[in-house]
């Protein structure tokens, strides 16, 4: 199996206070990986440093054996919903069409085939009927599906999603996780920042447990145990011992 992501000795800080401390791990291709950990554990920071969206203090990140700068168009990023201006004058289908931009290069406009492909991606997430609506007119779950469709439109090798299930209805959540599992099964690598422990073991086959440093990484069965989770969450529930942390 090929190495998809390799992180070596990663250190990241914000204004002098450390966000990630000596994180190293290697993810193989074809995995659906959840990044879990308490609030402020550096989950989104890890995702952003994988994408080189923030500057790192020390360490090395490789995507499919190359630096992220060479691989940017091969990686799709779905940001947190709160980072989007939902009043922006853009329709659903045009938002999905943005996904074709990375492969178009500068100066070139999307062609008819790109538009047809964008519509296909929108059909896949099941909201093609809303394609001419302004994005703010959709529900939270539908909006998240639009952004997944946009990622699909990019035809990347790797998907990075930041908290995709926050404020999302049950149908949308099921649609999204089904598609992510399908992507994994055809050999794509999917990394998801996730904060809801209750479904983590159903959704992912590998977990990265983070609390500023890497607590544990590996198959769900290995990471998702009370003992291991307790190591990351104990500070947040000082009254509990590791074993008492309910899953």
């Amino acid at each position: 199996m090929k190495t998809a992501i390799s992180v070596k000795d990663l250190f990241v800080s914000y204004h002098g206070s450390e966000a990630l401390n000596n994180v190293s791990f290697t993810v193989n291709e074809g995995n659906l990986v959840g990044i879990i950990g308490p609030n402020g554990a550096g989950k989104s920071t890890l995702l952003k440093s994988l994408l080189n969206l923030i500057s790192i203090d020390k360490g090395e990140v490789q995507i499919l054996g190359k630096s992220i700068k060479e691989m940017r168009t091969k990686v799709a990023y779905v940001p947190q919903r709160s980072n989007i201006d939902w009043d922006f004058p853009i329709t659903v289908i045009d938002t999905v069409l943005l996904g074709t931009y990375p492969n178009l290069g500068i100066f070139k406009r999307p062609k008819k085939s790109d538009k047809a492909w964008a519509l296909e991606c929108l059909e896949k997430v099941g909201i093609a009927e809303f394609r001419h609506r302004q994005i703010g007119e959709l529900s939270g779950g539908q909006q998240q599906r639009v952004f997944l469709a946009r990622a699909l439109a990019q035809k990347p090798d790797m998907y990075f999603l930041d908290e995709p299930f926050v404020g999302v209805d049950v149908t949308s959540e099921e649609t999204i996780i089904t598609i992510l599992k399908e992507l994994r099964d055809i050999g794509k690598t999917v990394v998801v920042v996730h904060h809801d422990l209750s479904k983590a073991s159903d959704y992912f086959n590998e977990l990265i447990l983070l609390n500023k440093e890497l607590i544990e990484y590996g198959a769900v069965e290995k990471v998702f145990t009370p003992e291991v989770l307790g190591k990351a969450y104990s500070n947040h529930f000082p009254s509990m011992t590791a074993v008492e942390v309910k899953i």
Partner: protein, 287 residues
Amino acid sequence: MMNFIDALMQYGFLQKALITSIMVGIICGVIGCFIILRGMALMGDAISHAVLPGVAISYMLGINFFFGAVLTGVLTALGIGFISQNSRIKNDVSIGIMFTAAFASGIILITLMKSSTDLYHILFGNVLAVRPSEMWTTLFIGIFVLVSIYVFYKELLVSSFDSTMAAAYGLPTRVIHYFLMTLLTLVTVASLQTVGIILVVAMLITPASTAYLLTNRLWVMLYLSAGIGVLSSIIGLYLSFTYNLASGATIVLAATALFIVAFIFSPKQGLIWRWIRKFRKRESYAR
């Protein structure tokens, strides 16, 4: 009205004024869309004020004010970015610090030049006195700005809407920001004679906001905003000529009037429709 049209046929100065203000209406409208969508209305105000010292220096050196204005405008944009990135000072505050400093230096430089009539025209515009060279400057700037926006439309769209995605796939978002600031400076320079430094921000944000209330597509918004800008310019020029009023003020008030119409009557966003929708909702609950 007939008098205005007759005069337009007859007088070269009025034709030049009309051409200049139409171009200003178009480019302010187009660039203004990106300014308001990126939440940079204050930045628009700042850059327009920041060209003043550049204009003063250009007059002193006897060069076209275009060069000085672009220089101080872009330097101010860089300074604002530098302060907010290298301290805890928030962006709007660093904008306030830098542009008032630039504007104040401009006032002192112009006072040293001892020609206060120019200052009045730079601050408030006097489109009826536009010289051929200034008209050509405006036209060339206009063409450059419109071609730039056409060529980089895709990149401007994605970086305005979702700058994280743009950065994630490798667009140089910071370069795009400063490029837009440069275009903004150029537009301000082009608008100096028509609406003046103080009021150019209105031409940047008012027509664009009117268009924003009327459509859900960026490209439609760009065309609408340009059209509304042109309409405001023509109405304003007519009022300025007929009643001998400052052109900047009449053009801006024409733009404001159009905004109010859209604010009340816009099919989706307007006040009336909001009231009707609320009323219907209440009715449906009452049943």
